[in-house]
Symmetry: none
């Protein structure tokens, strides 16, 4: 079993992603978590390039990492300048990071057309910059920017840049597919060439030559390109958590690590840590404040979710039937989704999972009722609370704690003033009738407040511990203009649980009422009187 | 240049994705768009398995597709049954789809442990089911479910199942990585074995053996596995738009098509159609009503967005510096993130595009006003009508044809009856006041009807030729429960144009009113009195 160095750049390259914005504190929280997960290198940023990164490295000085080496990222020195005279390199050194990751130019197009520099001078900048940090006792990792594009245009020169970095004393030579447009077989060819060439050139060298890979996802191939490089002998993979990064993102370590560990016999993370991969993914998306991607391989909410009826019954008999691995190995779990593709087995599985008593219910009837309702626009995969009520109604077990007699919602607007909404709700309960009125931010909020007020007279304890936490509206078919059908989803919670309910109608108030009433029915129905 | 058959299964396998839910009408809209884009096969669903798919194929009978063949998906016949006696196969035939895509079992584990069937009987089911549809004059595509997993466990038997399908008369043998866990080099090895084996077995056969690939993304490798199979000689790729599909999704055709056409010299789509790939991606995500993924390769909003300052200036000098291809080839465009300069140029660009006179407007002011409003949740990319009104208001050129004095909307519901909504609107115009009342399907519809009625008194010609065609609601921040902020987008049209307007508020009626009023202002503002 070969072993692999994990190099995380979520805090630097990942932060280049659109909508990704880490504070220095966020960065520290993530760095500590990555260290805890056993990553070998954590790239914290570019000290000197922006105040946030400088602050992060200052704070990092007082931290002792258990496993990881902290890396500071930066460029080779400027043309015509000695490394020791370049303020940017001095700022890098001042960060006191034990590892310096220097990126240099490979591509003649980039050097001559964009940098307006000479190929010779570029080689000097690489060699001397690496050597300077080595002379300061730092471990230097060399990122060869645009290596694969550069190699295609001028292979010999691309190899010379690696030579310069190696002679300068770099520990690892990382080949970067900066633009993310390379294909796996191209990565393979280039890697093989590089190995042969460096092998010949430095056959006498005592230091073993170490190659790394840094891939981007612009052609949906970052993971494939990374594992291809690993198969060709790369000993370091650079990537980010959740594949965050500029444009289409970097190679996603939450996929690469399980692929290497579980499918390629490459040792990079212990089983105990691997089993925390999903929570790491969630932790980073929460800290970055971006919604987690449900379909993300291995760690996404839907990664092991089954919708088709045949799939569900198969998985229950034999998980390998539709699961390429055991979800728990990465801390994920199997889920069964209700939908019009559902069969009997989804319903029974779901019911068991939710502890719903199917006594006296024909699950075939439930399935066909669900299919009928989903034709109308209901979607029970996101509304398990309404699903439970549906089953209980069909079983004749549903005992409503309240019934609507009527309600009236009024919205008024005067010139240059905001709308004002109020609602009057009249309900009937086993303990008597009640009529209440309330206002709110909009008609649904007013309706919610008035109903809650009425129910508080009879079920004060339940109401005290229940609140609405999310309200979603979706127009199912826009072609009807303002008369289109809408679907309303409401999430509610009490100290112990969260439940979702649904309503569908051409009338948003009607749809909201259905979801609202179901939410309160669910709460009260599941509590003793 | 080799050519490739594009097989889209967005409407069947794609619909298995969590939160993906197409109505029969949605399916038809997408099918027509795919046909227009030149896809060779469109899989519409599984007729007989659920009412929605049956309805779709009924509707499809009256449609003549320009380019695509419509495929109905289904299983081989049941154990111990003749194909002609199997109700599921009869339903497939009844769909009248010219192409039947049959999936059969490859994996002994699946056949024996899950289906509790014998290997021999499974071969009979495959051979006879394929042959039956061929005898009915249908083109049959055979999907070998779990082919790669099956081949690993029992290679010889896996190959026998392909033989059965081939002997039955299948046109294409599609190897499916159903669980999505295979690695590219495994795909390559298996494909090579299959080619050799079938080549030997059917060397005398007049029909050329055609292989296809159907990949899933559970290991982030669906695109890589697909193009690997293409390099190994597959002549058909199956996938979905935006990679929608169960669990982690199917192979994403919005990546695979550009990779093949632009990077692999594989001919599958004309440049004119390829340049509409981004809008196809958007159309499907809008129809599925799932937010588009910004980081999606090739077609995502961020796919060519540059954040780092150095990258931006480099790209302006030499696009190849940080762009692996020309964005316009797939209908995408370069974006520069968080730059006031770009903001300013965007505004002037958009204004010019819309023929808005920027005379007497400081575009910097407009930019900062837009930024303020977008902070609040407005989004002018999707509401150019409101954008025009914004500019005209700031230029002091806006002459309202009406002003609101006040409105009142009432929604009433009695036990067991649907809601009833009516609205009273009182407006002031250069020609006098008017108060009108109207009912509608829901409060916004009532408001729309009442305002329209009032405006008809003064602008009958304009009102006669204007209608609302779409109404979208999105909750911007769920955390406030029913008091969350909502964004309303309204599309309106007259015989010549379509325009979009926007409103944002905690109150859905307030937000709807803003968008509604803007829509009428836009219509009347741009017409002579």
């Amino acid at each position: 079993m070969t072993s692999m160095l994990l190099y995380d750049t979520t805090l630097r390259d990942g932060a280049q992603g659109e909508h990704i914005n880490f504070s220095a504190e966020d960065k520290m929280k993530i760095a500590l978590r990555l260290d805890d997960m056993g990553f070998h290198y954590i790239e914290g940023g570019w000290p000197g390039a922006n105040p946030k990164d400088t602050a992060f490295f200052e704070a990092a000085r007082s931290i002792t990492f258990k496993n990881a080496k902290l890396a500071a990222f930066g460029s080779t020195c400027r043309p015509g300048m000695k490394p020791g005279d370049d303020p940017l390199l001095k700022a890098l050194a001042a960060s006191e990071a034990p590892v310096i990751t220097l990126f240099g130019k490979t591509w003649d197009l980039h050097i001559e057309r964009i940098m307006e520099n000479t190929l010779e001078e570029n080689l000097r900048m690489i060699r001397e910059s690496v050597a300077w940090f080595v002379s300061l006792g730092r471990e230097v990792i060399y990122d060869a920017e645009h290596f694969f594009d550069g190699y295609k245009d001028n292979g010999e020169y691309a190899l010379e840049t690696l030579t310069a970095a190696w002679e300068g004393g770099a520990e690892v030579l990382v080949l970067c597919d900066t633009n993310g447009g390379s294909l796996p077989h191209e990565i393979e060819t280039v890697m093989e060439d590089v190995k042969v060439w460096l092998g010949d050139r430095f056959s006498g060298d005592a230091r073993p030559i170490k190659l790394g890979i840094h891939a981007h996802n612009d052609a949906s191939l970052a993971v494939a390109n990374t594992i291809t490089a690993v198969r060709c002998g790369a000993v370091m993979v650079q990537g980010t958590i959740n594949g965050y990064g500029e444009r289409c993102g970097n190679a996603d370590l939450t996929s690469i690590i399980p692929v290497m560990q579980l499918k390629m016999d490459v040792d990079c993370m212990s089983p105990e840590r691997l089993a925390r991969m999903k929570s790491l993914s969630r932790f980073v998306s929460e800290t970055a404040n971006v919604p987690p991607l449900n379909s993300r391989p291995f760690v996404g909410k839907s990664a092991f979710a089954h919708k088709g009826g045949a799939h569900v019954s198969a998985v229950l008999k034999e998980p390998r039937g539709y699961e390429h691995m055991v979800p728990e190995l990465v801390g994920n779990e199997r889920r069964v989704i209700m939908s019009d593709y559902s069969g009997k087995s989804n319903v029974t599985y779901k019911a068991r999972e939710m502890g719903i008593d199917m006594e006296g219910v024909d699950s075939r009837e439930v399935v066909s009722e669900i299919k009928r309702l989903e034709q109308e626009g209901y979607q029970f995969e996101a509304a398990e609370g309404s699903f439970r009520l549906l089953v209980e109604r069909m079983a004749g077990r549903f005992k409503p704690r309240f019934q609507l007699k009527n309600f009236r919602v009024t919205v008024e607007k005067d010139k240059d003033r905001h709308c004002r909404s109020h609602a009057v709700v009249h309900i009937d309960t086993p303990f008597g009738e009640e009529m209440s009125a309330a206002s709110g931010d909009g008609p649904v909020s007013a309706l919610d407040n008035a109903l809650r007020k009425a129910l508080e007279c009879f079920y004060p304890r339940d109401m005290a511990h229940m609140q609405l936490v999310d309200y979603k509206v979706r127009v199912l078919d826009g072609s009807g203009g303002t008369a289109s059908k809408v679907r309303v989803l409401i999430d509610s919670r009490d100290p112990d649980t969260i439940w979702s309910t649904i309503g569908v109608s051409e009338d948003i108030i009607e749809a909201s009422w259905q979801a609202l009433a179901d939410s309160f029915h669910y709460k009260l129905g599941s509590s003793e009187i």
